[in-house]
């Protein structure tokens, strides 16, 4: 090491750093700010629900549930949020075939009398609206590799139950509103937290993560999921 390098090292020991915060004490109580950088994808996710912007949140994390590409965490209190309209947030309307071309994989769909339109946002997320007993149910799919992490936060009263869908691992989330957040692979903010009012079945099918969301029962959701494969 040269004398200049040694001088720089010595200089580092003389620098005035601010007092070190006790981050460990806050490990259970996390503070996050959510800049409005990536609103479109989240809007697509919540076509059946309301979208919420979260300027900051203090959340005590109680328990984690994992499946490939997704985490559900139970928290004491859901992030505070402001409701806003999400009309038209599903993305570009295309044919199923075009959606498959854009996403690079074959969409998993139940048998349908007629092919529904698909909606694609940023070439990463495809959504199809199904009708189950006359009610709309949102089916969303993405390649797990395209999202570093999908996180759902649920309150204490929300049921989270591990399930198997045709042998694949999944989670059934039922109960009061819960939130959904995406993170990018690099951990950068490429995310938005939104509030979901319906029940959700989330499962993986190979490299694809599939979500069913709507006012449906667990039996209905599992029936659709089994039809999907």
């Amino acid at each position: 090491m040269s004398s200049l390098e040694q001088r720089l090292q010595a200089l580092g020991r003389e620098l005035a750093f601010p007092p070190e915060p006790d981050l460990a004490a806050n490990a259970r109580v996390t503070t996050r700010s959510f800049p409005w950088r990536w609103v479109a994808l989240a809007a697509a996710i919540i076509a059946l629900a309301a979208a919420f912007a979260v300027p900051s949140a203090r959340t005590s994390i109680l328990r984690f549930f994992h499946i490939e590409g997704a985490t559900v965490e139970r928290v004491e209190t859901l992030p505070p949020a402001q409701e806003r309209s999400n009309a038209g947030g599903l993305g570009r309307r295309v044919s199923v075939r075009e959606a498959e071309r854009l996403l690079g994989f074959r969409l998993l769909l139940p048998p349908l009398a007629a092919e529904p339109p698909a909606y694609v946002l940023d070439g990463e997320l495809a959504s199809v609206i199904l009708r189950v007993d006359g009610r709309p149910v949102l089916l969303s799919e993405y390649a797990a590799r395209d999202f570093g992490l999908l996180k759902k936060s649920v309150g204490e009263k929300t049921l989270v139950e591990p399930v198997r869908v045709a042998g694949w691992p999944g989670l059934w989330v039922e109960g009061p509103p819960h939130t959904l957040t995406y993170f990018s692979e690099s951990g950068e903010f490429r995310q938005r937290t939104v509030k979901i009012h319906g029940n959700v079945l989330l499962w993986t099918h190979g490299p694809v993560t599939v979500r069913l969301e709507g006012r449906i029962s667990k039996a209905q959701a599992l029936r659709i999921a089994r039809e999907i494969g």
Binding site: L11, E14, P21, A24
Partner: protein, 185 residues
């Protein structure tokens, strides 16, 4: 019976399974270097604290993707530093690094004369000013590698660049500093 302390790999495994105490232990271990790294990159204490806090939150949530057997520190620093760089980009200007207030004698060290102490301090201030005048990429490389004593691998992780880029930036930065300081070593 005395419990043995858990090693890092065990703590990571426990944290992956949702053990918050294990995660807190890991945070406590690395919060100092994470905060200082965020500080030199973000340029102010409040952004640095927020970046470190958010970085640890994201790291906790991404533990499932952490490669078993890898050192945790560079991985954590990469996430925290990424947060810090984002904040600096959005905040624009950053505060300059500063020397601590002149202290008295160090424990176990020889006491310099007042004149010698003054010369040494002026020398340090001149060196620090020269570092702060470097282009951002070079200045950050110097700060991470020498001020924070990060390894080359950790410096690369913190700056989000390849190790070779760190080497070249350091070489150019040192050459520039030698020029500025008219040093011939």
């Amino acid at each position: 019976m005395v419990d043995r302390p858990l090693d890092e790999a065990e703590l990571v495994e426990r944290a992956r399974r949702g053990d918050l105490e294990a995660w807190e232990t890991l945070v406590r271990t690395y919060q100092g270097i994470a905060f200082r790294t965020a500080y030199v990159l973000a340029g102010n204490a409040s952004d640095a604290e927020e970046a470190a806090q958010d970085g640890f939150v994201k790291a906790q949530r991404a533990l499932g993707r952490f490669r078993r057997g890898s050192p945790l520190r560079p991985w954590l620093l990469r996430i925290v530093a990424n947060e810090a760089r984002n904040r600096r980009r959005s905040a624009g200007r950053r505060e300059r690094l500063a020397l601590r207030a002149a202290a008295g004698s160090r424990p176990g060290g020889a006491v310099p004369s007042p004149e010698a102490a003054l010369v040494a301090r002026e020398d340090q201030e001149r060196l620090l000013a020269a570092v702060e005048l470097l282009p951002d990429g070079h200045r950050d490389a110097i700060a991470c590698r020498y001020f924070l004593d990060l390894s080359e691998e950790e410096t690369a992780a913190a700056l989000g660049v390849r190790r070779g880029t760190v080497k070249s930036r350091l070489a150019r930065a040192l050459a520039r500093l030698r020029e500025d300081l008219e040093e011939d070593t």
